[in-house]
């Protein structure tokens, strides 16, 4: 009785009551991880912006077609994987484990598609001669004085993101295989997956959309 009274008193404040967050320890842990991880990506993106703003010239090597169209497709794939993840979480919550499994599988397939598309993009750029600390000779001529840090920021940020996607695919695989024991983990893994999607929402405009090659809009 007294406890219920205490709870009702406290609940009005920040709706926390005697359980300030009322989430499971896994979910709370995932949120804390997401906070620290967003600081990692935040730091990397600030480093990228710093390197770019402090350079006399910065390569803008992406023609609208095919590069931007291609990376937009990657964005579409990743956003769609978030939607299938949402469906997986809501199916798991309703106790429809079979359906949740299928949606998780769809999410993993979309995640792998993203990785494959991204690796194709990387291969294309490396084929042009881009390396972490060196620009292709052609670029150096086209953008005189351009910072060689383009490669390291590009590979560093997109590489870490891709690593997160890959980790996410493995994580979802484990959750899918043990879904009967790990029902709550579907939602927790969903948090991770959406976070990876969220990071891409900043990487895509900053790295790709701000580096469109307007002299070569439709490729060579």
């Amino acid at each position: 009785m007294a406890e219920a009274h205490a709870e009702s008193l406290a609940v009005n404040d920040w709706s926390g009551g005697v359980h300030p967050y009322r989430v499971g320890h896994r979910k709370l842990g995932m949120w804390l991880f997401i906070m620290s991880d967003s600081l990692t990506f935040g730091a990397l993106l600030i480093v990228y912006s710093y390197a770019r703003a402090s350079s006399v010239n910065w390569p803008t090597p992406f023609p609208f077609s095919p590069s931007i169209v291609f990376s937009s497709m990657m964005t579409l794939v990743l956003l769609s994987s978030s939607l299938t993840m949402v469906f997986a979480v809501s199916a798991a919550k309703r106790g429809k484990l079979g359906s949740a499994r299928k949606w998780l599988l769809a999410t993993m397939v979309l995640g792998l598609t993203f990785i494959v598309l991204h690796l194709m993009e990387w291969q294309h750029l490396m084929g042009e001669g881009l390396q972490p600390f060196e620009l292709p000779a052609e670029w150096a001529e086209k953008w005189p004085g351009a910072s060689p840090l383009f490669g390291s920021t590009f590979f560093g940020i997109t590489g870490l993101h891709m690593f997160h996607v890959l980790t996410g695919v493995c994580y979802l695989g484990v959750v899918m295989a043990r879904i009967k024991k790990m029902k709550e983990d579907v939602e927790v893994s969903g948090l991770y997956w959406h976070f990876v999607d969220l990071v891409w929402m900043f990487v895509f405009p900053l790295i790709y959309l701000l580096s469109v090659d307007y002299h070569n809009l439709l490729g060579k």
């Binding site: 709870e7 920040w14 926390g16 600030i46 402090s54 978030s82 469109v212």
Partner: protein, 196 residues
């Protein structure tokens, strides 16, 4: 007992409001005395002050609202005090239809960003619009896909302001990049490339 608690709350509210007013005052003083002469540094200082003012004002405003001294201007349906307490996760999160609508809006915002990249907007304007759109997208993802809108307010207040403040603090270093660019000698570009 109750009296002392109320007195405590009253004092805290006054302190918070005073801090909020002080922060707004510093921002106003900076604008009036300096008029953005220092560029990004001034902008940053003003933004930080305004953000601090907001953070200081929020608990007091929430207290005022909870005690009926202020009607909620946002009229939200997210967390009715009783419903959040049921402990079940039935009403937790939006419906599939709602999530699909969010997905479509995310796609639409992305399409808008890509269109901007196609029509060639000046880079500063482009950066501002892109970041604005990305922040909206991030907010939609966090609120609906990650269900944060449906969590307890205490969790939201633990996560969101902390992250916003920390990410803004990173930006302290940013204006230094212009100094680096402007102080760099014009010619010896080739050496840098060979070293790299």
């Amino acid at each position: 007992m109750v009296d002392s608690k109320e007195r405590e709350i009253g004092t805290l509210n006054i302190v918070m409001l005073a801090l909020a007013v002080l922060a707004v005052g510093v921002a106003a003083w900076n604008v009036i005395s300096d008029g953005f002469r220092a560029g990004t540094d001034d902008l940053f200082l003003v933004l930080v002050c305004l953000m601090l003012a907001l953070l200081f004002a929020v608990p007091t405003l929430m207290w005022a609202q909870a005690n009926g001294k202020l009607t909620n201007p946002f009229a939200d349906e997210a967390i009715p005090a009783g419903a959040a307490d049921t402990g079940t996760h039935e009403a937790h999160g939006g419906s599939d239809k709602q999530n699909t609508i969010i997905w479509v809006s995310l796609l639409a915002l992305t399409a808008f960003e890509v269109l901007l990249a196609y029509i060639q907007v000046p880079i500063t304007l482009m950066l501002i619009v892109l970041m604005g759109a990305s922040i909206i997208k991030a907010a939609l993802i966090v609120a609906y896909f990650m269900h944060l809108k449906f969590e307890r307010l205490s969790l939201i207040l633990t996560i969101v302001p902390t992250l916003v403040v920390l990410l803004c603090l990173f930006a302290i270093f940013f204006p230094d990049s212009f100094r680096l660019r402007d102080m760099r000698p014009q010619e010896p570009v080739h050496q840098v490339e060979h070293e790299g």
